[in-house]
Symmetry: C2
Subunit: 240 residues, 2 copies
């Protein structure tokens, strides 16, 4: 913000907010992607993208992220935090993406600086809802198709961040689990995040006696082996 240069060489890029919305379906880590247009493998543009949009006037970045999230999931109070800004001048240069952008936005797009957000949600039927003009669906992060812009890179970077968070702030992971869960379910999410198996007993010591994990008097039903206990996550007891 120095005077002498601003009127000469500066310009105003578009600013967008994109959300990496992660969930766990009991088996794999998934990311919510939105599709613009028909599902056609021979399409001229990459129709899969991170959910996001340009920033509105007078809208805070965090508010935009929350709004995108609410639009898609139909519910509020999800965990969401800013991850990082991506602003390479070439990130919108893929001809497929240019084609789509000019179609969608109806004007020449010089450049878009995007602020990426990381969000953790519970996968349920509501989040599979289809919205007018665009679908949103869950995709395994381990088998991502080609995505628009640098969205694959953004997801990859966010997943590294998530791995760190799962160790340093393990309570965040409950955002992805149902209100009642077994020790196995909890361990599986962590394994998906860190990419390798975790020792059952050591993992128990790490997490199961945190004050915010409370055992319920409920057990699995109709399983052909010893029934696992259910636990719940108690928000009020999180201490860092």
């Amino acid at each position: 913000m120095q005077a002498e240069n601003t009127t000469l060489n500066s310009f105003d890029p578009h600013v967008s907010v994109d959300c990496v919305i992660l969930g766990y379906d009991g088996e794999s880590l998934k990311v919510l992607l939105s599709r613009q247009g028909e599902e056609d493998p021979n399409s001229q543009y990459n129709s899969l993208k991170l959910p996001g949009r340009l920033l509105y006037a007078d809208e805070d970045l965090d508010d935009a992220a929350n709004d995108i999230l609410n639009q898609l999931t139909g519910s509020q109070n999800h965990y969401v935090r800013q991850f990082r800004a991506f602003g390479s001048p070439t990130r919108t240069n893929n001809p497929k993406d240019v084609l789509w952008l000019e179609n969608a936005i109806k004007q020449k797009i010089g450049r878009i600086v995007t602020i990426a957000y990381l969000s953790l949600v519970r996968i349920n039927n509501r989040t599979h809802r289809t919205f007018a003009g665009h679908d949103a669906a869950w995709y395994k992060v381990s088998e991502l198709p080609e995505l628009a812009f640098d969205h694959s890179t953004i997801i990859r970077e966010v997943l590294k961040e998530l791995e760190m968070l799962s160790v340093q702030q393990p309570h965040l992971i409950f955002e992805m689990l149902p209100p009642k869960f077994t020790a196995l379910q909890l361990r599986r999410v962590h394994e998906q995040i860190c990419g390798h198996e975790l020792d059952v007993r050591n993992f128990s010591k790490f997490i199961m006696n945190k004050p915010y994990i409370v055992p319920l008097d409920e057990w699995e039903q109709n399983v052909s082996h010893r029934a696992a206990r259910f636990y719940k996550f108690q928000v009020g007891k999180v201490k860092l």
Copy 2:
């Protein structure tokens, strides 16, 4: 980036890059601030700011940060990394700042989204250099004057990040130290960062036998006590 909204409610905010450039002068942690205009306590606007400017067309965010840094320090290869984007619609609303902005940029400023960077540099004479039209000088982070926009907040948040980094990636701290330093100097920087005293012996164990710290055959001269050994930091030996 969804088509239906972009043409209706979206707009293009200005995008800037601001650098929190931190250094250590042997006594305190300092931040490099630039002053626009005369040093006048009764000035109508806040003349002290983080060094930064609007983004140029075709300029990557990281490149902008590096450029700002090079302009001020006159040297390259400083440690610099993106910290976080700040985009509250009200961050440019302080009347003092509005006055300055309209003066400096010669146009109505609706809003500026800034990408804040964290940088660690060595304080020396070159970094005290004055540039045409604006001064830059080091200020103690513990006694910051009033700053423009939300720059005080940005600095506060960056300092929290630095505290984390000094523990998790202690090698970064050498960016702020001279090529040769004593164990005391090293400890003092860490104490400034974490805000309390550190036990001499425990700190030694923590840092002094990392492979990237190499003892030199040089000792302090002319001190009225046992001379302290000098060490240097060996870049190639950093392992995380």
